[in-house]
């Protein structure tokens, strides 16, 4: 998408375009000018660094981190995976934040007016850091599908929002995780906004029996390859 010269970190054969008319809100929010190539400076090769002190002990467990008088309703699940860079190495210390609707398809956000019940024991927000090999793990409730106003009878497939902050300003991703076999994916302009069908499929977690805990919770595996400037840009400083 950039004109020439410095190569950005994003692969535009994989990433969605700004303008994708079936997702109506893109029409007035999509930049029209081509992106301008940028020679990375130290500002883009650095970024915030997070440590264990930034994370609370229950932050990764959405079934407990907002519980008031019991457990949240719905299907308990484990969501885990590995954050890799494009060379296939695990990325440690990534801040992974997730947020989602409850089992009834309702967000706690004040602007969500979907007529479905809130759950007094569920907020739907969590955060964690990837470990030394790049793994993260959350315990949560399977979110419900919910209606939205993009077009008549529009429904979002069940999804969990993910935000990742990696080792420098260039390693930044906001995405969504979907569930295997969801028939709503075929009708969802946000999912369909990814041009490449193979890339699109990587937004779908896989049921993982190794992660599943017998008699307790199904497990889903969701690996994420984070684009960004290669670590060789700043390896001399070590970390």
């Amino acid at each position: 998408m950039s004109e020439s010269g410095h190569k950005g970190v994003l692969d535009w054969s994989i990433q969605p375009p700004y303008l994708y008319a079936p997702y109506v809100a893109t029409v007035r929010r999509a930049p029209h000018h081509p992106l301008v190539p940028l020679a990375a400076s130290l500002t883009e090769l650095t970024g915030p660094i997070y440590g264990e002190g930034d994370i609370g002990p229950l932050d990764h467990d959405l079934t407990k981190n907002a519980a008031k008088n019991g457990e949240p309703l719905g299907e308990r699940i484990i969501v885990t995976g590995r954050v890799l860079d494009q060379s296939g190495l695990g990325v440690p210390g990534v801040l992974v934040e997730i947020w989602q609707a409850n089992a009834a398809g309702r967000y706690i956000h004040k602007n969500d007016q979907h007529e479905a019940p809130l759950d007094p024991n569920f907020v739907g927000a969590g955060r964690t850091l990837t470990d030394a090999k790049g793994f993260y793990r959350f315990i949560t409730i399977k979110p419900g599908a919910y209606p939205w106003k993009n077009h008549f009878n529009a429904w979002r497939p069940a999804h969990i929002h993910f935000s990742l902050i990696g080792r420098n300003f260039s390693e930044r991703l906001v995405t969504q995780m979907y569930f295997p076999g969801d028939p709503l994916l075929a009708y969802d302009p946000i999912y369909q906004g990814i041009p490449d069908t193979k890339a699109r499929a990587r937004l779908i977690a896989s049921l993982d029996l190794e992660t599943t805990q017998p008699e307790w919770a199904l497990g889903y595996r969701f690996d994420i390859v984070l684009a960004g400037y290669d670590r060789t840009y700043f390896e001399p400083g070590g970390r």
Binding site: Y23, R28, H32, L35, T43, Q86, L173
Partner: protein
């Protein structure tokens, strides 16, 4: 090379997870440097304020240093400066309480790296904000920008009774569209 993971929109309902008390405050009372407020609106193609965007900033401290190992001077970086901030845009737009960054060598002028996320954006947009009280053409990136558009990256300094405010709007589309970078 492993294929990178695709982006999806942040959607309208991120605030309860991504914005916390103090997310937009990069300083404490011991931070070195000139306190500034950086504020403005995100505007859509109809010139209407976008009230559900997320704006993130990353910048050097007042000495032009980053608390990150890629910066050879990181050991001298201000431990009381966060460098990173997040703001929503409901109400009057985004607002950050920070310090004026120092220039980061080799550039002789300071700037702040900015990322915008919103409902209706399947992928974020990256930009920079420079400051009106510098000759920004001395910055190699700024100097190569389209002269007709580079003003879209310059925040205007306003000295108000409550302190220094830099005003800067982000226009996603239309006349005065902000320059966005391929990062």
């Amino acid at each position: 090379m492993h294929p990178q993971h695709p982006s999806q929109t942040v959607g309208p309902f991120f605030a309860f997870a991504l914005l916390r008390e103090g997310s937009n405050v990069l300083v404490n009372d011991q931070t070195l440097g000139e306190r500034i407020v950086l504020r403005g609106q995100v505007l859509d193609g109809d010139n209407e304020p976008v009230d559900d965007a997320l704006v993130e900033i990353w910048q050097a401290d007042a000495g032009g240093r980053f608390r990150h190992p890629a910066d050879p001077r990181h050991a001298q970086a201000d431990p009381h400066f966060k460098g990173f901030g997040r703001s929503g845009t409901s109400g009057e737009g985004f607002r950050f309480l920070t310090v004026k960054p120092g220039p980061v060598p080799p550039s002789p002028v300071p700037f702040v790296a900015v990322r915008v996320f919103a409902r209706g954006m399947l992928i974020h947009a990256v930009t920079r904000v420079y400051f009106s009280d510098y000759d920004n053409t001395k910055d190699l990136v700024f100097a190569r920008l389209d002269p007709a558009r580079c003003h879209t990256l310059v925040a205007q300094r306003c000295e108000l009774p409550g302190g220094v405010v830099y005003r800067w709007d982000i226009r996603l589309q239309g006349e005065g569209e902000t320059i966005f970078f391929d990062l």
